[in-house]
Subunit: 185 residues, 2 copies
């Protein structure tokens, strides 16, 4: 394998091990085996399984979510909810995210990485959606993008990832209307 | 120790082990040691650490949250947010809840127990708050208490337990206003 291929194979293996085995039980040996590389190939790149997972989280964060740009706050929120619901229902995401949150409670480095992913950055999707809604006069100046993300993502995350509930027909439509009402209240 | 004291000591030990060691790493031996009882005292009551944790979750669920009954939807929501924020910021809760969610992703029995706690029952706090708001004409007939809980608890949970953010001055006041707007949108 080429060097970049090895790195990619290891990253995929970390993701799969996290989902199947969980952070507490997974090992660098297991990751190397799954990636089809030697343990030293892993240790040459990362010093521990924590370092591996932090690197993965940072890589996912750098990609970010696509900014919808539908031309209205309601349209943008509805589009964001669609993408988020799709991601949260992915079986790998639904297993990996809780693993990361558990490790965050034990490890300040992990907590910082997760926070950096979830707290929307200046150019994050919520920041752009809010900025454009402010420019259109749909939200007041000074609207906090992190608070906006609480109101948009929170109810969906609670339902899908915490309670383990389903999404009844029309749920996302109703949630988009509710989130806009919450944002403009 | 009397029999009830032993049971109580074991339950406390489970809670502490979950918070400190985590579900994956904790053992019945460790729980027994912390409770100051023999391993057989644990196994006489519960067949595994999973059974122990399920029992604990069910016991906490049976207590439930106090129903606020302030006389208005806004007052009830504000009071609920206060109680929930207090619970979510408790260091033990903030470690135990993610542990339970991780295990839920791996274990259908645990998923069912957590769902039973979080999906509000017929007499759960959200059901009562919604029923009384409907009776006062503040919410339409047929308002779904589970959806109401998504809109009330979701943003707070996202901020405190997922992102690991703080609660700025006035945050809960604003969230109560937003949640009522979301509920009545």
């Amino acid at each position: 394998m080429l060097r970049d291929d090895v790195t990619a194979a290891i990253r995929t293996a970390v993701f799969e091990e996290l989902a199947e085995t969980g952070f507490a039980r997974m090992s660098v040996e297991g990751i190397a085996r799954r990636a089809g590389v030697g343990k030293t190939a892993v240790y040459r790149r990362w010093k521990s399984k924590l370092a591996l997972v932090l690197d993965l989280v940072t890589a996912v964060a750098a990609q970010g979510l696509p900014v919808p740009r539908t031309g209205s706050l309601h349209g943008d929120v509805r589009a964001l909810l669609e993408v988020a619901a799709h991601a949260l229902r992915h079986p790998v995401a639904s297993r990996v995210i809780p693993e990361l949150l558990v490790e965050s409670a034990r490890n300040p480095e992990m907590a910082q990485a997760v926070k950096a992913v979830l707290l929307d950055s200046r150019d994050g999707v919520a920041a752009v959606v809010v900025r454009e809604a402010v420019a259109r006069g749909e939200l007041p100046e000074g609207t906090d993008p992190d608070r906006a993300l609480d109101l948009i993502a929170g109810p969906l995350y609670w339902r899908l990832a915490v309670v383990g509930g389903d999404l009844p027909e029309g749920y996302l439509d109703g949630l988009a209307v509710s989130a806009v009402a919450a944002l403009t209240a």
